[in-house]
Symmetry: C2
Subunit: 203 residues, 2 copies
């Protein structure tokens, strides 16, 4: 069976990568990977749906055994993507989407080199600022800092295969779909399968 | 200005690459490159439209000066793709499509490494045979030889970036469009331009 592909959607925060991913998932284009965390479940959060909830010991063991595609520690809790459920979906021929921040994306590139890295850009720095101001959760100083961080982050685009400028959501989702579809038309690992298929028939 | 991309559409004969290219050109998606030849114009053929008609000396000079993307000799006449008109279109931001046989495609890959090579496959060997039989221009022996040649040619798919299975013309054209659009979302050479654009604005 044809293998699924792993798409890593990343980029500066505020560029709207989450919204693009939600659209792709709800359209059934690909499956979202479920993160693993050491923090306790909140409210309606369900095991295996919102997160895999584990102890610090279990998380550490997963790291030690090379079973994490990526992970990070945030405020004394760990969050990450376990390898097994992702690889299972790919083996079933499903595409998987991982929405993660940029350091995580680099870890995935190392732990699963066949992953396809997509960088989501805001249409412009001024639009990004406007979005942050409208959100109203940060001070002007924090927004200034964020702008400088974003510019630093955009320099890392060189490590990515594709970019999407998230100006209009519908066309950003279209771009993501184009990338996903095109990746399934790439020869790379398919070459041997294609050759064998025609050879079997031609004999 | 954003550079255009050069797409080389190739593959075994009978797979229908010509029809796909015609659709893309007539839809205005990309420009077709005009070949140069030493043979004389026939009927309504116009200079610069159907071919650039040149003398054997002029053709040899173009080769010697490295001005051919690819060329071949067929029945004492030479045919090939001059570099200059292609590079001019790319510089104007236009995509260019080159429909050529497989040896030519390999020459283009060498002379213009940024070109994107697309391999058009027949849906199956039996469909290819049926198409050739329906065409009625070849004997059974010739068709058998053609089948074996096609199988050999398919092994060369490894040298290509993308493949399109030409089962249904409309979906084959869609696949070509997907590839063309996705190539414009690739980071590669764009990285510096993107970084500079955001930096200029952010300062």
């Amino acid at each position: 069976m044809k293998q699924g592909r792993l798409f890593v959607i990343s980029g500066p925060s505020g560029a709207g990568k989450g919204t693009i991913c939600k659209e792709l998932i709800s359209a059934g284009i690909a499956d979202l990977s479920v993160s693993m965390t050491t923090r306790k479940p909140r409210g309606i959060e369900q095991e295996g749906v919102h997160y895999y909830f584990v102890s610090h010991e279990e998380f550490q063991q997963a790291i030690d055994e090379g079973n994490m595609l990526e992970w990070a520690e945030i405020y004394a809790n760990r969050y990450g993507t376990p390898k097994k459920p992702v690889l299972e979906k790919l083996a079933q021929g499903r595409d998987v989407i991982l929405e993660i921040e940029m350091q995580g994306a680099m870890q995935v590139k190392k732990s699963y080199p066949k992953s396809v890295l997509i960088f989501v850009l805001p249409p412009s720095i001024s639009v990004l600022r406007k979005r942050l101001i409208d959100r109203g959760t940060e001070t002007t100083e924090q927004i200034d800092l964020r702008t400088r961080t974003t510019l630093e982050e955009i320099k890392k685009i060189k490590d990515y295969s594709y970019f999407i400028i998230n100006d209009d959501l519908a066309s950003a989702v279209d771009d993501a779909l184009t990338i996903i579809n095109a990746e399934h038309l790439r020869v790379e690992d398919e070459a041997e399968d294609i050759i064998q298929r025609y050879e079997r028939e031609g004999i």
